[in-house]
């Protein structure tokens, strides 16, 4: 038995040494990415996607029925293109659309369709098809459906003007309509002719859009092979001849596959030691994307102990965000004091009066409360679990006894449904706080995932999303952030910034140059991605 244990130990040590030796590197850190040089045509690119998120498209790739469209934005963007896309510096760039106009009262939005564009099956990309598509996705069950934000008029909510204009008619002002369109499946227009010809079942496997790449083969949640669309509206693009998305089971396996040359890019690396190795590896480029969604410790203000403001304040004071950022994530991720982050709109570095780490104040509050025992939950994921463990030990120093729980999605939702949860580590906000996993999602009374029921905050958030004027929106969101802080509703921590890894020689916006994340990661411009050899 003893010799067996020794042998087992030896085997593991040998294996670990091999892994570390092989995965290590000695090159210079490259976190800036490289978007320089003249793009070259041709070549094939294999993109590895994690099985748990972007690599899972179990319901197919029809924008109206793909329930995980938000996670599969890379595949969807490559096939369907986009009406609008988010560019560097947070600029909205018209693509298959040529522009937009929102009425002063925010109740009408006109979207201009780029003339002369064709779908991959040769049919015209016109206003009528876009309007049909909008109606279809509004009725779709995807959590990326615009129906979660758009309050369209029941009759004639979507109309057309001529061949090139689609008009959206809202019952309430919708100032953030284009941001919401960007983060929804409305942005991916399907060919109506192809869908009617194939039927929904076939279309979801081999969909047809007007994007830079056409589907060659599609094994759901396993491998999607695409080829260049020669009729793409931007002349000379896409640069690549073939684009393949391959699902891979773990980040470690993905990293090794990149090293072995079996993949050329990986989206959204999370595991800190692997990111460190990748940054040191001279064969790879690691690009940290601008952060948009901060981590927040949601506190359930309806139940004890967080129905007492002093308990909430104690959590604020006991949380040392900087220590966590530094200790766990090498200071990669920026601090956030509200639901905005440096990569998103309406961001301000600090919120006046925000309660930062102060252990003595935390201790005093806990003492005043006669002790504090809390349960802190989260969705079972690498970063969140790491943070929760750190929070447990930090809060312990202030005398807060913390039980941490890590839940699978279904159990997490059950916890929210029960209303008995106490605190949850979650992300809140997006590039535009009114889109994606919006601030309302965590703070509005109407959301099933809120910890706050406050009419004043509801009004602030509603007004901010409805207002057309951007400076007024900024003012309203700033006020909302200050109000959340004043009421000690939920301490914010840092904004997670996804890191994309590519082999040297591969370049493209969102992959090797920074583009703000619309959802969890940035929407890469696959039509502009190219290989230098």
């Amino acid at each position: 038995m003893r010799s067996r244990a020794k042998l087992a130990g030896l085997a593991l040590v040998a294996a670990s040494s091999l892994l570390v030796a092989a995965c290590g590197g000695g090159g210079a850190t490259d976190t800036e990415g490289s978007g320089s040089g003249k793009p070259q045509r041709g070549g094939s690119l294999t993109v590895l996607e994690g099985a748990g998120y972007a690599g899972a498209w179990p319901t197919g790739l029809d924008p109206a029925t793909n329930t995980t469209g938000g996670a599969n934005q890379s595949q969807m963007n490559a096939i369907f293109g986009r009406l609008f896309k988010l560019g560097e510096g947070g600029k909205i760039v018209p693509s298959l659309a040529s522009g937009y106009d929102i009425s002063e009262d925010g109740k009408t939005a006109k979207i201009e369709i780029r003339p002369g564009v064709e779908f991959q099956d040769g049919t015209p990309f016109d206003a009528e098809t876009v309007a049909w598509h909008f109606q279809r996705v509004v009725d779709s069950p995807c959590n990326c459906s615009p129906s979660r934000y758009w309050r369209l008029e029941k009759k004639n909510g979507i109309t057309t003007e001529g061949d090139d204009t689609v008009v959206l008619h809202f019952t309430v002002p919708s100032g953030a309509v284009i941001s919401q369109l960007l983060s929804s499946n409305a942005n991916w227009v399907a060919s109506r002719t192809a869908l009617e010809k194939m039927g929904e079942k076939k279309f979801k496997i081999t969909p047809v859009g007007a994007g830079p790449f056409k589907v060659v083969s599609n094994k759901l949640s396993s491998e999607l092979a695409l080829e260049r669309n020669p009729t793409y509206y931007e002349k000379g693009k896409p640069y690549l001849d073939r684009l393949i998305f391959k699902t891979i089971g773990s980040e470690q396996a993905a990293y090794q596959a990149l090293q072995a040359g079996q993949g050329q890019a990986y989206e959204g690396m999370n595991i800190t030691p692997l990111i460190e190795q990748a940054r040191k590896n001279p064969q790879l480029t690691v690009t940290q994307q601008p952060a948009t969604s901060p981590y927040v410790i949601q506190l359930n203000t309806k139940v004890a102990p967080f129905d007492d403001k002093r308990a909430r304040e104690a959590i604020y004071y006991a949380t040392d965000t900087n220590a966590i950022r530094e200790g766990l994530f090498n200071n990669w991720y920026p601090v956030s004091q509200s639901f905005t982050a440096p990569g998103g709109k309406f961001h301000h570095a600090s919120v006046p009066g925000y309660r930062t780490y102060d252990l003595e104040k935390a201790k005093a509050l806990v003492q005043e409360l006669g002790g504090l025992e809390v349960t802190l939950g989260t969705l079972d994921a690498y970063v969140a679990n790491q943070v929760n463990e750190a929070l447990q030990s930090q809060w312990e120093k202030a005398g807060i006894k913390t039980t941490i729980r890590s839940w699978q999605l279904a159990t997490l939702i059950k916890e929210f449904d029960s209303g008995k949860w106490q605190s949850m580590l979650q992300t809140a906000g997006a590039w535009d706080p009114a889109a994606g996993v919006s601030v309302d999602f965590r703070f509005a009374s109407t959301s099933p995932y809120t910890g706050v029921w406050d009419p004043k905050l509801d009004k602030l958030l509603l007004d901010a999303a409805a207002t057309v004027d951007e400076s007024e929106r900024d003012r309203l969101y700033t006020e909302a952030a200050k109000y959340i802080s004043d009421q000690a509703y939920a301490p914010f921590m840092f904004a997670f910034a996804p890191q994309n890894v590519a082999v040297k020689g591969v370049q493209g916006p969102g992959l090797t140059t920074p583009i703000s994340s619309l959802l969890v990661g940035p929407a890469i411009w696959w039509e502009d991605v190219w290989r230098s050899e």
Binding site: S3, R4, L7, A8, A11, L12, A15, L18, L19, A22, C23, L48, A51, G52, A56, P58, T59, G60, T67, T68, G70, A71, P141, C142, N143, S145, R148, K201, K204, I205, K219, L220, S221, S222, E223, K246, T247, I248, G249, S250, Q252, A253, Q256, A257, Q259, A260, Q262, L379, Q408, L409, A410, T411, L412, I413, K414, D417, V437, F441, S447, P448
Partner: protein, 344 residues
């Protein structure tokens, strides 16, 4: 009359032959085993269904993700027919299975038979390669180790076996990739090349996954076979007799002892088929192989009960059939075993 007589004779011979065949002990064994398998397989489907229903969260919730609102979940549940009572859904599925219809995936709407048809060949090839890898090295090494117990080959084989048994197959898989795909890039790290794209490419894509699955089994089989061979060589009368007759040690080992030890090995290989199939679930993930294991894991994550039930049923059938074949092979390998004959 003259023409009908031979025809009648032929008919009689056919029916006679059929009757004899039906009385065949082996066929009766097959019949009995298959009949016994029906409640087993039904139990497997029921258990799978119950477990999937006990698990929190519906397929709709899983597919929509953490950001879905309860209204969206309800809408999708209605679209997917998940708002029906559980027993109704199970009964409908079971009726379909009996008539050969495994149903459609809840997630994709694709027929399950199509999904299995796409994925099964990859896993079958992988499992076969893993068995070949494990047995191809087991037999020679165990023979060499048993030839001189405690000799250098025996000791080396023990070190190798203990290493293989101690290391988790997913760790071993990552080590294999580092060595044979990263440091010495001779084999692919991920992906599957179908047989239709060339035999060489196909085999290359399966070598590392097959070794990752087959190596722990090889280690186990080697220890087992070596032990059995040593025991036979030491104490069995027929070995002593053969040696007394002047038969050489290698010949005794291979022709006599090994043949006897094959039964034990065969049993172990048959019993380990379930373990082997289980290992493909993890290994297919690591090597990005589009096999049945990868599909099963995705279906479980999506709470796609129809796909999970169909795959579990298929795997249960494979295990039942494999065990039956193992039993029948006994009779082929050992003329003394004849099913249905009474022991003296």
């Amino acid at each position: 009359m003259s023409t009908s007589t031979p025809a009648l004779g032929a008919d009689r011979r056919v029916s006679h032959g059929l009757a004899r065949a039906l009385r065949s002990p082996s066929l009766r064994l097959i019949g009995r085993r298959l009949a016994a398998a029906i409640p087993v397989l039904w139990g497997v489907t029921l258990l799978t269904f119950l477990v999937l229903n006990i698990m929190p969260g519906s397929a709709a919730q899983q597919l929509l993700g953490a950001d879905a609102t309860p209204e969206q979940v309800r809408q999708l549940e209605a679209e997917l027919n998940l708002d029906q009572p559980a027993w109704v859904r199970y009964w409908e599925w079971l009726q379909g299975v009996v008539t050969g219809d495994l149903g459609n995936s809840i997630a994709s709407g694709q027929p399950v038979t199509t999904i299995i048809g796409q994925r099964l060949p990859v896993s079958v090839e992988l499992v076969l390669c893993a068995i070949i890898v494990s047995l191809a090295f087991t037999v020679p090494l165990a023979l060499m180790a048993a030839r001189r117990p405690n000799g250098i080959v025996d000791r080396l084989s023990m070190v190798l076996s203990m290493t293989g048994l101690s290391i988790a197959n997913y760790v071993f898989a990552l080590v294999l990739v580092v060595v044979f795909a990263v440091i010495f890039p001779v084999l692919p790290a991920i992906g599957f090349v179908p047989l239709s794209d060339g035999l060489l490419g196909n085999l290359r894509s399966l070598i590392l996954p097959a070794i990752a699955i087959g190596f722990p089994l090889f280690c186990f089989y080697t220890r087992f076979l070596r032990g059995d061979l040593v025991e036979q060589m030491r104490g069995e009368d027929y070995v002593v007799t053969a040696k007394a007759k002047g038969v050489g040690p290698w010949r005794v080992l291979i022709r006599h002892a090994f043949r006897n030890s094959l039964f034990g090995l065969l049993t172990i290989v048959g019993l380990n088929l379930g373990t082997l199939i289980g290992a493909t679930v993890i290994i297919e993930q690591i090597f990005a192989l589009p096999g049945i294991g990868q599909e099963l894991l995705q279906a479980i994550n999506n709470r796609d009960a129809v796909v999970v039930q169909a795959i579990v049923l298929l795997l249960a059938v494979v295990v039942v059939v494999a065990n039956l074949i193992t039993d029948l092979l006994y009779a082929v390998l050992d003329p003394r075993i004849r099913y249905g004959q009474r022991s003296a």
